[in-house]
Amino acid sequence: MRKLTLTVLLIPPILWLGLLIVLPHVQLLALSLRERMEVGVYAYNLNQYKSFFTETVFLETFIRTAIMSALATALTLVIALPMAWIIVKIAKGRGASTLFVMCLLPFWISETIRTLGWMILLRESGVIPQFLVAIGVTAQPIELLYHDATIMMGLVYTSMLFMLVPLINAIETLDNSLIEAAYNLGANNAAIIRTIVLPHALPGITAGCIIVFMLCLGNYLTPTLLGGTHSQWFTEQIYNQFITRFNWEQGSALGFLLLLLSTLMIAIALRLSGQRFTDVMRRA
């Protein structure tokens, strides 16, 4: 009976995973391994993967995307850590719920609408450049869109909640008496953060960083809309291969490389910080 219940309960997630994730990926894998020789004639080889390393634009875009994503992750962490601390340890109770809901509210609106909102604020004829002219900071309205910094801001903004939730979880379990004990033994604020708070919150920090890094790396909308044609985001390259160039084979190969390389980077980061993926996910 229990076995039957378990089987029934497991059917939806298995169908979900199988039909929507595994099956398309199998097809993508098959696609990525073939090369179109002429109309209707295909050969199976690794040429699509080779071109990632031979055509510098792919590799350069990937490296740029990875570095920008890592930077966005670090920035998100630096901003979210004090926010989580304030929500859990300083606001407490009702105040904490209010603050958390305030962080959550923007995510009720679709990402496209929110990004378009940023565009209204930042474009040359937009709210902020006009305001800067009005108060005399700049003589002419300046274009605030289409900079790397704008992309960065957009990435941090869209990722914030995904960093905040695991951090709040991690900090909530930190016993206040540990902090008091550390003070009592002569520690100052900096020492407490370094020796007590960060080690305790490390699984939460790692989980948040993994999620945010993956989201940034795979984000298409924010870099494209806020960065314009010069955003040079790796997902944009994949999109171009599929849609503009109609080269599905190359697009599939790039998609798979994105998956492999991001997994590899996270594995290296976990190894360097001495943690295990299952522990991190369980404790976060």
């Binding site: 008496s177 540990l178 004990a181 003070y183 009592n184 033994l185 002569g186």
Partner: protein, 358 residues
């Protein structure tokens, strides 16, 4: 004149309109084991947190080791604390826990390790330096927490009901260990507890606290034999308490009559006049049992309601036959009255010198 390690003058701490600590004057001499005893909510934890510096007093002065603590943060005070739940750092091993305070003082790693190891050996825990905190038993963790605080050689060691979480056997054992450790080190210990047995066994001086103030400060013997207030008489040790009136005076003795109408002789530190309302306290061991066959005509007789056997601490509940007064009486430890059972009739007498009217 002894050196005072802790002095407080009219210390006040309010939370909203409620004064948790109201005007506490306290002086504790160097090397004493001082306990603050009181029921939960009496303000003893607030007082300890004021001393540690986690909260600031609204009024009054706090002096540790001759130095005024105003404006000095909890990380600068020469008072370390053993927390109720111990608060050992789970992200560090035992040795790192003990060496934590030394590291914050910037002491070299080599010296830290040597000092921490010496302190661990002192509390009876050699060879646990590199173990994880969760690998230790409850009693061992207790010792690690004490070692972590003592390694800084504080002027005051504050202990916040540290034995509360242990089982009873271990608690008895740790009581002896704590007392021994304190007398060896000579550090001033301030120990807060709601358990009067812990306070009496461990302390040189005990302060009984109630509603934010000290009711009485004295040696365990003074508190037990000469309680200054009804609260102390009722809280320290077990006691029979009666509402009574003074019905006569003879030399140093007063005769009191309880609301049930039972009369007995008692003593009082107060100058009571006839008719005054008092609270009379009779210790269970101040009542002597006499077999009905051996008793004189005048001795009061009572029926046994129940026998509460607890080894050497056994007592019986009796009801005096004439007035219906209920009393708790200690059974002699020799076991001569081991045959008593509920329903038996027994005679008793009360030693006036072991009773008190307040």
């Amino acid at each position: 004149m002894h050196t005072l390690d802790l002095e407080t003058h009219q210390l006040v701490k309010r939370f909203g309109s409620h004064a948790a600590v109201q005007g506490v004057d306290l002086s504790i001499e160097r090397g004493q084991f001082f306990s603050i005893l009181g029921p939960s909510g009496c303000g003893k934890t607030t007082l300890l947190r004021l001393i540690a510096g986690f909260i600031q007093p609204d009024e009054g002065r706090l002096i540790i080791g001759g130095k005024d603590m105003r404006g000095i943060g909890p990380n600068q005070r020469p008072a370390t604390m053993v927390f109720q739940q111990l608060a050992l750092f789970p992200m560090m091993n035992v040795g790192e826990n003990v060496a934590y305070g030394l590291a914050r003082r910037g002491i070299s790693k080599k010296e830290r390790v040597a000092k921490a190891e010496a302190m661990l050996a002192r509390v009876g825990l050699p060879n646990v330096f590199s173990k994880g905190v969760d690998q230790l038993s409850g009693g061992q963790r207790q010792r690690v927490a004490i070692a972590r605080s003592l390694v800084l050689e504080p002027t005051l060691l504050l202990l916040d009901e540290p034995l509360g979480a242990l089982d009873i056997k271990l608690r008895e054992h740790m009581k002896v260990e704590l007392k021994k450790l304190q007398s060896e080190l000579g550090t001033t210990f301030i120990y807060i507890t709601h358990d009067q047995s812990e306070a009496l066994v461990l302390s040189d001086q005990v302060g009984v606290m109630n509603q934010g103030q000290f009711e009485q400060i004295g040696t365990p013997q003074q508190l037990y034999y000469s309680p200054a207030t009804p609260f102390v008489a009722g809280f320290v040790g077990s006691n029979n308490r009666f509402e009574a009136r003074v019905s006569g005076r003879r030399d140093s003795l007063v005769t009191v009559s309880t609301s049930e109408g039972f009369r007995f002789d008692s003593v009082s530190p107060k100058n009571l006049h006839v008719g005054a309302a008092v609270e009379a306290f009779v210790r269970p061991e101040a009542i002597q049992l006499i077999r009905a066959t051996a008793a004189t005509e005048h001795s009061p007789r009572a029926k046994i309601l129940s026998v509460l056997f607890d080894g050497a601490n056994s007592t019986i509940l009796v009801k005096e036959l004439q007035t219906g007064l209920e009393l708790r009486v200690a059974l002699p430890q020799t076991g001569v009255f081991a045959d008593l059972k509920a329903g038996d009739v027994i005679c008793f007498s009360i030693d006036p010198l072991q009773t008190i009217c307040l």
